[in-house]
Point group: C2
Chain length 483, copies 2
């Protein structure tokens, strides 16, 4: 007898053949290269399984067909677009499942310029969308990893550097179309910016990491690109000195567009990629702020409040005087992730992986947790730059580990857990923007308690009784006491 | 045999007597005045039932006890604090139930000034909280009806005039403690401003109108009170002329604190309450904007953009030059609801009720729906001022009806429904901030479709299998086709 996955693929193939008008563009891929490519996302340090097939869909009807059949046959389905998730959200933990590739659903369906919104499919990348919207003078703020697509951005409730002014994905998505586990298609909301019409289905799906439904369309709230802006960096002798300034700025109600901290190690890494010695940055902990508003005066006002908050402790303070300089300063932040491994490039014949982790705390605790984390990294003898969406009390460690050194990887995951537990002690969260996936599944109950976890399980069981949607992510279906 | 409600009250009384330390302050009230006061909220035109008892609770443990017993006995429970809801959210539709009075749970539990948040109980009023916070220079933005309390504000996802800059309740609540139907207490989230830790339980409850759980504590995000502000009003010959200006302002990315429209009839009503003829307002449709920022220049810049957008069509433009003038201009908006009945004060020996309704549309459709609504009101021979949170595409009709004229009330509810259906045609919502309750229960499926409604029913059944929490609100438990 054939397995459930084989039955699913046979049934899908039959639909493709018998209804070519509707399903002709649905592709079932089982070649080695495709399966290999879809057996990992960006969270290299997590275990994941090779799928039995990758089903590439081109429409909502395709998604609905796949889910209705998979549900009947109880076959696990994981949605995948760019695969940029960092806690293994886009991978299978069960080999007997399929990847649903939504990357070809990449249409910008509508831009309602007069309403400041647009409608897009899940395979649209945010960078691509930003280019598409440029002529309108509008943009969609969330800016996570460069290649990320709207579908996954909904899944993890991503954010990025602009969340400081504009909020996270939850604050910028007006409405979703979602296919539920049994293939039913729903719309969560209409397009008005305000609504009190029933339960908040939109936010039920945002941050649910593909465990409750698959997003097939998102209506996004757009903002007008600020007409005036400038970037400023301020360098400090210590991480704590910089974090104290950020806390002060946030507490004063600072209106910056972005407010980031990049530590000395991170700058050292970025410097390795800069050839011109005159353009290298001093290797000191750095605050980077983007000031932006509707006039030159508004920008100057923000710059003045920034300088004032820096006080006497600042060592260098550089304001971009033109766009090219702003771009150069801003490149510091943009290169952080990609340059981290350069810190160990002198260790020849080794292959490095970056274990990325993030936590967030109430802003008054930012100094404490950053200092404690820096100490933990040193004690664990790890090489790990720190970059912070500091204005939101959120930061990342980019732990550069030797892929062939299990002991080092173990030390990195221990630091990751200790950071998270410290954040929880401070009434913070084990993840500000990367989500739970499988990487933080053991931390969520510590954060929210047994009651909240049981409620999440109740929701999951009600919406996906056969547990086909990204099973094994966010939480285990049975509580630990029952296992 | 005694009824379920009687058994519940007996069991509660036993707890009060046997565990006075824990439950001594729980009060069971069955006196006529209390029952009468709790058989209505502000939605006078809806049917509602007199409760069998009002149980006044003073702690989370009390709420948990009441729900666990009520759940076992299947007794309906409706939470009530100020009773300011407008679609009958705070009333029973089944006489055999109880009102859970949370108005005595009115503690400000903590103010975390350094984190810009505070923790409050559901019976705290937003006005009262604003006073409490004043010395810190912080405030909580949502500003619905004057007497509204945090519990109900969570229930309906309220907003108000400040939502234009700061968003609705969903955007301003960090975390909740909630008692579920069976008495379980959960915490939805920690205090960091950003989190991607699991399903969004906070927003599952916000807007659920007490049908999924009872809020016992809310952690609220606070903002710094702008240091500089000014109020400006601009008067126009027609409603459409004013709405076109608002659309233009919103589309340009206007940064105002508030952006309201008050129609000519509304001003006429407010004028009846102003004795000094010199202080009366010209009876023309009026835009009111509050400009606010971190400096005098920022305010002047907003004022300049406001004036420019008004163009040549403006008839009067008045900028407040001091706080007293700002207060006078702002009183226009604040008095709107309370002065509406004055429009019919010449009709002696009649008792008037205001049927309040609200809808919201994508901003480009604001002119169209306002003009159409004004026409509908005229055709139905109703007296109804219009006030709009115009910047959000959201507006209210305040239909002044003769309480003893069923035909007139019927015409009012017909206009209410036609407005809502028109908003839906424009991809808007049947309620921007008042919620569904029972008043718009027949409109929600038209807005979201059958699939979304079934999903809401699935959620309700999973969280409240005995249907004790505010039964009969938001939607009917069985879909119409099954009835």
């Amino acid at each position: 007898m054939s397995t459930a996955v084989e039955q699913l693929l046979t049934a899908l193939a039959a639909h493709v053949q018998t209804k070519p008008a509707e399903f002709g563009s649905l592709r079932i891929r089982t070649d080695d290269a495709t399966l290999r490519r879809h057996s990992r996302d960006k969270s290299y340090h997590h275990e994941s399984q090779r799928p039995r097939a990758v089903v590439a869909v081109a429409s909502e009807a395709h998604v609905s067909l796949v889910l209705s059949l998979a549900n009947a046959l109880k076959v696990p389905v994981v949605a995948y677009a760019a695969g940029t998730s960092l806690e293994a959200q886009a991978t299978l933990i069960d080999h007997n499942g399929i990847i649903l590739d939504v990357s070809e659903m990449d249409n910008v369906v509508a831009v309602h310029e007069q309403d400041l919104d647009c409608v897009v499919e899940p395979g649209v990348g945010w960078g691509e969308l930003r280019e598409h919207l440029k002529p309108t003078g509008l943009f969609f703020p969330p800016d996570p990893g460069a290649a990320a697509c709207i579908g996954g951005m909904c899944g993890t409730n991503c954010s990025g550097t602009l969340a400081f002014r504009y909020g996270t994905m939850k604050d910028n998505v007006l409405s979703l179309r979602v296919v539920l586990a049994d293939g039913t298609v729903i719309k969560t909301r209409n397009r008005a910016v305000k609504s009190s019409a029933g339960y908040d289905l939109t936010r039920l799906f945002i941050g649910s990491e593909g465990t409750l439904g698959i997003v097939t369309q998102a209506t996004l709230r757009l903002r007008r690109i600020p007409t005036h802006s400038s970037v400023v960096i301020a360098q400090f002798p210590t991480l704590s000195a910089s974090a104290i300034v950020v806390q002060r700025l946030v507490q004063s109600g600072a209106p910056f567009l972005r407010l980031e901290i990049i530590d000395d190690l991170c700058i050292k890494a970025v410097n390795t990629e800069i050839e011109d010695p005159a353009r290298k940055f001093a290797e000191l902990t750095t605050i980077m702020a983007e000031c932006a508003g509707g006039s030159h005066d508004a920008v100057l006002e923000q710059l003045a409040s920034f300088k004032q908050a820096c006080g006497d402790g600042v060592m260098n303070l550089t304001v971009a005087t033109n766009e090219e300089e702003a771009e150069h300063l801003w490149s510091l932040r943009k290169r952080a992730y990609f340059s981290a491994t350069a810190l160990r490039q002198h260790e020849v014949d080794k292959k490095f992986t970056v274990v990325v982790t993030d936590v967030a705390v109430p802003i008054s605790r930012l100094v404490d947790i950053l200092v404690a984390t820096k100490k933990m990294i040193a004690e664990a003898q790890l090489v790990s730059p720190i970059v912070a969406h500091a204005g939101d009390g959120n930061f990342h460690c980019l732990m550069v580990v030797d892929d062939n050194d299990p002991a080092e990887i173990e030390r990195a995951t221990t630091v990751r857990d200790k950071m998270a537990l410290l954040a929880l002690q401070m009434e913070g969260t084990c993840t500000g923007e990367h989500g739970i996936g499988i990487g933080k599944i053991h931390l969520l109950e510590k954060e929210l308690g047994h009651g909240a976890m049981q409620l999440m399980r109740t929701l999951k069981k009600a919406l996906d009784p056969n547990n086909i949607l990204n099973p094994g992510k966010v939480f285990h279906l049975e509580s630990p006491s029952k296992l």
